[in-house]
Symmetry: C2
Subunit: 281 residues, 2 copies
DNA sequence: GGCAATATGAAATAATAATTCCAATCCATA
DNA sequence: TATGGATTGGAATTATTATTTCATATTGCC
């Protein structure tokens, strides 16, 4: 009966967790230590690890053998592979990309710059987004009869994707475009039972600000996505999000804004479905 | 005269690069190997590393001593610290996000899902994009009198951002929208001196395919962004890019496509500027 | 071209670390 | 509570690995 020796860290981890109950006390002790301090196992010596875990070196070896390895050394390989295989850190990646984008020649450098900008933006928003704001915004939008989507220029692509997604989800919406010059009239139709998603970044398109002001004065609640608390949009908004998009070569990444916009859209869709289900029940 | 011993990897790297010129041949050889294969230094034994680098173990130790360490072991510590300190890997981050997105409750989970999808897409395209294709596409577009931008539905936001950016860069362009139903006529104006950026993902919008076919038959070169080599768009295109966008909750991330679109746009802008400069000189 | 200084290779040696072994202890079961 | 088996601790042993040493080769300099 030869054991199946775990060759990668995840399998090893699973195996350990699986057998946890049946392990003798000291072995269990080192098993817990190993999963909690995998880096120590990767770098330490049998003696140093054993000391840190409060057991004898021989116990460490018995642990390894019980898992099917022929000794501590082969167990350690698995922990080392884990460190090796994991890609270079997020920051290193970004730094490398940015370095290539700045120093590098050719068009690949430009591409890398945009990738770096997008990654940075995603990273930032993932850290800074306030869950409560997200909930508030979704509640507000879910109650709306019609969702108006307001954005010009560089923010317009986001608005058009929101409109597309809302349409797919069968949520009534109205994209306020400038093409026909009928924006004032469109805006006039909105009532306090509706809601607006407004998106604008510095330098704020005057039309967006004007329309947001008008619509806010009609009592229509606004969810704003903008780039600072000084943004005029933030003044009019019931809920607003600060999204810091990195830029490259003068063009802002839209990836963070897009992600937020999609989360709002799909969130509203889910909330509506839940509401319907509740009403039925 | 006591040396300043580098204690972190970055300092060490700088020190090595700084002295590179003045190092003896074999020492330089191992120095280069160390910077190229830092993971091997972190985990290997003096003998194994020396063998991989094609030198004697003693050379490795001399290298360490020349840097101010008292032996290979202390040099190795620096390489180990580097692995320890670097943040959790990119993949681990993504996995965590995806886990939260799948298991998690509430709308934050949705948001995390979109962030994860966007990150994955950026990661993928960064790995797979072919530099030569990028150069080809940019050359082709830079020569065009007018750049037509063709995309419907979920790809439309990308097209609108391209149009916006081209406009900013004062590059003549025409967005082929469906609003007025004049697409056939618009397409008819294009000549072989122009070019098209066409974007379409499965399920391909029939209108996009039809217009792409028509325009290709007029001899207008097409740069396509699509999702597989089986895409009908790829048939008509002079240059085409395969972009695998991850999706979440049924909506595709656009971040990779956006990054590529921006790189094309800005690349064309640069190429035009260069051409103008050359003509002046 | 010859000399000194420096660099390199290879093997011997010292250090360190993993593993084994055995006695002591613990624990479950009758 | 006695007994057998499993578990553990600690030291002895073996293995691996870093380091040192010294002979040889190379390089720069006069």
């Amino acid at each position: 009966m030869d054991e199946q020796v775990p060759r990668d860290f995840e399998t090893l981890r699973a195996t350990i967790l699986d057998r946890r109950e049946s392990l003798p006390k000291r072995i269990a002790q080192i098993a817990a230590y190993a999963l909690d301090n995998p880096d120590d196992i990767a770098f330490g010596t049998a003696a140093s690890i054993a000391a840190s875990a409060g057991v004898q070196p021989s116990t460490l070896i018995r642990f390894a053998q019980q898992l099917g390895f022929d000794g501590f050394t082969s167990l350690q390989q698995v922990f080392r592979e884990r460190l090796r295989e994991r890609n270079s850190s997020y920051d290193e990646r970004l730094q490398a990309l940015r370095a290539k984008a700045e120093g590098g020649a050719g068009h690949r450098a430009i591409f890398d710059g945009f990738i770096a900008a997008a990654s940075t933006s995603l990273n930032d928003i993932s850290r800074t987004l306030d869950d409560a704001h997200l909930e508030d915004a979704i509640s507000l939008l879910a109650k709306a009869q019609t969702i108006y989507v307001l954005a010009k220029r560089r923010s317009y692509p986001v608005a058009s994707y929101i409109a597309y997604a809302l349409g797919k989800l069968k949520i009534r919406n109205q994209l306020i475009e400038s093409a026909a010059g009928l924006n004032a009239e469109m805006v006039g139709f909105a009532t306090p039972a509706d809601a607006v998603i407004a998106i604008s970044f510095s330098p704020y398109a005057p039309a967006t600000i004007e329309e947001a002001r008008a619509i806010a004065e009609q009592g229509v609640p606004i969810v704003a996505i903008t780039d600072s608390s000084f943004s005029p949009l933030a003044q009019f908004a019931r809920v607003w999000f600060e999204v810091a998009e990195a830029d490259f070569a003068g063009f802002r990444s839209l990836s963070a804004t897009m992600a937020l916009a999609m989360a709002l859209t799909v969130g509203v869709g889910e909330k509506r479905r839940d509401a319907v289900r509740k009403r039925k029940a």
